[in-house]
């Protein structure tokens, strides 16, 4: 069976994450273990650091001046030090929204909207996520979503965005927490 653009992108991410786990996780785990942290602490800070790295690289690859390993290790140390110094395990990296209580609240809102999107527009959410979050070019998504041209894919993207905007309004959901 032919793999699609989204499947390929997911496979590439899997490969990237396995590589990062193999290269960087041992150092993060050693750092956390030496400071009295648990395996789960190491996993949490590492995964949060990888998520920060992934989003930053997609937004602006030039922003990462050091190697991926160095960057992730730096963020993980920062996250660990914040949690350790505050005597808390779940303090987020400022501005990156990984706070557990906040996360819980967001999950509730998220579940509401996911339920809605599951019936109204899973395809739309996939398209919007692929374009805005994973930053895949519209051109590469044409085949995936069976659009005939770049223009029709772009039009569909805006239609989906309008649909999501309408749902946000109709449900009177307050999404300030989602905005970084």
């Amino acid at each position: 069976m032919e793999t699609t653009v989204l499947q390929n992108a997911a496979l590439e991410r899997e490969e990237l994450f396995i590589g990062l786990y193999k290269k960087v996780f041992p150092a993060v785990a050693r750092y956390v273990a030496r400071r009295g942290g648990t395996f789960d602490d190491a996993k949490d800070v590492f995964q949060d650091a990888v998520a920060v790295y992934y989003e930053l690289v997609l937004t602006n690859a030039d922003a990462v001046q050091t190697s991926p390993q160095g960057y992730i290790m730096g963020v993980a140390k920062h996250l660990w030090s914040k949690r350790f110094n505050d005597g808390l395990r779940n303090v987020p990296l400022d501005g990156n929204g990984f706070d557990e209580a906040e996360e819980e609240e967001k999950n509730l809102l998220f579940d509401k909207l996911t339920t809605l999107m599951a019936t109204a527009g899973v395809k739309c959410m996939q398209l919007l996520k692929a374009f805005y979050y994973d930053k895949l070019p519209v051109k590469s998504l044409m085949g995936e979503f069976a659009y005939h041209s770049e223009h029709s894919a772009t039009v569909q993207k805006y239609k989906c965005l309008d649909k999501l905007r309408t749902e946000v309004k109709q449900r009177a959901l307050h999404y300030e927490d989602f905005i970084d």
Binding site: L128, Y132, Y133, L164, V168
Partner: protein, 90 residues
């Protein structure tokens, strides 16, 4: 429909890409005068926030799947043992 999509596109340009300084001023003036446009821009900003949260959540699920794979599959047993040693577990 076309007008609506042009508006969605213009709001996007204002929020994400940034208009040219002159155009940005015109757009801001429009928003001051037009409550509906202001509301739409605010909802659109929230929609981007939601997409970003949706993406991050899926990313974390993917990371979790990789973690499970590395810490359960026989293929990665030496890596796993190396990590567990650090925490004095087996």
């Amino acid at each position: 429909m076309r007008t609506l999509l042009t508006e969605v596109q213009q709001i996007e340009q204002h929020l994400l890409q940034g208009h040219e300084p002159g155009d940005a001023l015109v757009f801001e003036a429009k928003m001051i005068l037009d409550y509906e446009l202001r509301e739409k821009a605010s909802l659109q900003k929230q929609a981007y926030g939601f997409i970003s949260f949706y993406g991050r959540r899926q990313l974390k699920q993917e990371l979790e799947a990789v973690h499970r794979q590395l810490f359960t599959s026989p293929k990665h047993s030496s890596f796993r043992e190396r990590i567990w040693k650090l925490f004095g577990t087996k």
